[in-house]
């Protein structure tokens, strides 16, 4: 198992926020785990270095990662559109036959 570890220093990247992130606790005496330093991610690889099986972080980095998730976690805005926003947008697209504000157009002409 030790040959499957690859160590490198990295910035924390945000994952896809389309799913909830869960934390699972495992007693330390039930697993053999390397000890990451702060600022270090240990990637556990499968099939040489082709597939990542797990990434081990220092607890401080994990806390930072969780804090970033809280700050930046979001869903695509389209999923948060309100009925009013959609209605107004569609009405705007169909505005071609709408009443023309001739006074304002006059202001825009030379």
């Amino acid at each position: 198992m030790s040959s499957g570890f690859r160590k490198f220093r990295t910035r924390l990247l945000m994952p896809d926020d389309s799913h909830d992130f869960r934390t699972r606790m495992v007693p330390s005496n039930e697993t053999r785990m390397p000890t990451p330093e702060p600022g270090e991610a240990i990637v556990v690889c499968k099939y040489g270095e082709e597939r990542r099986k797990a990434v081990i972080l220092h607890p401080d980095d994990f806390d930072l990662f969780e804090r970033y998730r809280r700050i930046f976690g979001r869903v695509p805005f389209e999923l948060r559109l309100t009925e009013t926003a959609v209605a107004a947008h569609r009405l705007g697209d169909g505005d071609a036959g709408g009443e023309l504000d001739l006074v304002s157009v006059g202001r825009a002409l030379p």
Binding site: R11, M14, Y68, I71, F72, R74, P76, F77, L81, T82, E83, T84, A85, A87, A88, H89, L91, G92, D95, A96, G98, L100, D101, V103, S104, V105, R107, A108, L109, P110
Partner: protein
């Protein structure tokens, strides 16, 4: 969408796939389509004083007339993040009716399609609010920029040895 022919035949309706197939057979791959034109107010998102790009970015402005009364009230109370309400203030906004800036209505407009004079303006604070909301609406990921700025600020405060 209607395709214009210069052989005297009337314009014919065409869908984007049909148009793409026709264009692939043309040399050069250009044709003329008929489009409807109408006048509508827009909010320009930035000054491009030199006009080097030949176009401008703008947000559509929509009328509130056809919304239901509860919907209109929510827009007027600025409770709809996608619709920035502009009350009827001809002296400031230049329009003779209340409208809303549609943050889902991002437009790229050729400068030649813009009338020459702006009828009004939004102040810096209003444009800042629209800018902040636009980042959200376009799902722009500011995280790397913010994280870098936070790191730089921390570094200024604590010195490089603390990071």
């Amino acid at each position: 969408m209607r395709r214009w022919s210069d052989d005297g035949t009337p314009p014919k309706a065409i869908d984007p796939i049909g148009l793409a197939q026709e264009l692939c057979e043309l040399e050069p791959p250009v044709c003329t389509v008929l489009v409807e034109a109408y006048l509508r107010p827009v909010v320009l998102l930035q000054d491009r004083p030199q006009g080097l790009l030949g176009d401008a970015l703008a947000l559509a402005v929509v009328s509130l007339d056809d919304l239901s009364e509860p919907q209109r009230e929510r827009v007027c109370a600025q409770e709809e993040p996608s619709l920035f309400h502009l009350p009827k203030r001809p002296g400031k906004y230049g329009l003779d009716r209340e409208v809303a800036v549609d943050l889902n209505g991002l437009l790229r407009i050729g400068c030649e399609a813009l009338l020459p004079r702006a009828v009004g303006r939004l102040d810096d604070n209003e444009m800042r609010v629209i800018g902040e909301r636009l980042v959200d609406h376009l799902d722009v990921d500011l995280e790397p920029i913010v994280a870098r700025q936070v790191e730089e600020r921390l570094q200024q405060l604590t010195g490089p040895e603390m990071l």
